[in-house]
Symmetry: C2
Subunit: 213 residues, 2 copies
């Protein structure tokens, strides 16, 4: 399998976490999202992934975009360390928490949106940072409240799930943009426990071959 | 089952489509997203759904947010008219197309983001419309290209799937904001065929009890 990604992309990051949790061997192909206007916008990558976002997984004849679709696929094919519980209600809760992070927060704060804010709307650096802080705070406050109901050591009970896989990259991003994380002690407790796991360490941006100083 | 939603919310819309496709009986509880600053922000609804977005599904003791988590749950519990194919590769493709629409386009153009653009960033009505048109065009152009590979009568072959369920509300939105849809003939062909199906008609915004003129 080959994974096209970018070290600091949170969607790439969450896919790497899932693959490492499952012990899957894969080739990592960096796609530089910034250099030369972004390699993800160039014809070679677009031929593989018309959407022009990372990651893309290639597994034999299957070429797949969208990190959550990739992880669901890997989870079905490689049941070791299941990320979606078999119980339908538990699965539903895990997916809803994962989507809060990956499908509600991440798309609003990703690179292309930030570029539109500053490039097209001429928003100031300060207003851009406020944008990020606003959406992170909105999402994390609700997530903190939801964890009260569901969390054990991890987001849902004591088993690592898709919700955890999606949480960690958003905390990484929040830290990068200096969001105050003190209002979310439960969320940060889960995050710290996850950070101690080898798969999460192997997947972190700074450990990737395309990481920059 | 009880579904909290709003007639014009695309996430509510897609959940209704799925429920009608499966022939599920449910009580519909409108949550007015605009009146009095938005009922979704009020304590009564927040107690049910801390994230403060629609829809929310209540099924016995399960209280579930995130439309895609709800639909995956319903699909597993009620296999009639499966929306996620059983074949893992087909399932992956369906999910990736669904996410292109529901998790990449919709969150950037939903009400709370548009309210932030105009309310906090003081963006003009014209720039707000440009924002919507830009993200719809970006997403639809890639989707049109992907359909070339996958579509039959519907998004993936000749069977209605989660991808179709997610496509229709985004076309509805695009029409509402006068996006030129002529560059997407394949996408619009699929859309027209879906619109002819009873479940899609029953689910449409104007057919809901909380629809406004």
């Amino acid at each position: 399998m080959k994974l096209y990604g970018y070290w600091r992309s949170s969607a790439s990051y969450r896919t790497r976490i899932a693959m490492h949790l499952k012990g899957l061997a894969f080739e990592y192909e960096p796609v530089h999202l910034v250099k030369d206007g972004g390699e993800q916008k160039q014809a070679a990558y677009r031929a593989l992934n018309p959407v022009g976002l990372v990651p893309t997984l290639v597994d034999g004849d299957l070429v797949l975009n969208q990190s959550l679709a990739i992880i669901e696929y890997l989870d079905a094919q490689h049941p070791k360390n299941r990320l979606i519980p078999e119980d339908p209600k538990q699965a539903a809760i895990v997916r809803s928490l994962a989507l809060d992070m990956a499908a509600e927060l991440q798309p609003i704060t990703n690179l292309r949106v930030l570029q539109y804010l500053t490039g097209t709307l001429r928003v100031s650096d300060e207003a851009r940072l406020d944008w990020i802080h606003h959406w992170v705070a909105t999402t994390f406050a609700a997530f903190e409240q939801r964890l009260e109901q569901y969390a054990g050591d991890y987001c849902v009970g004591d088993t690592v799930s898709l919700a955890d896989v999606c949480l960690v990259p958003q905390v990484y991003n929040a830290k990068r943009f200096q969001v105050d994380l003190s209002p979310y002690p439960r969320l940060m407790g889960v995050y710290e426990r996850l950070q101690a796991l080898p798969a999460f360490q192997q997947a972190q941006p700074e450990a990737q071959p395309d990481a920059e100083a």
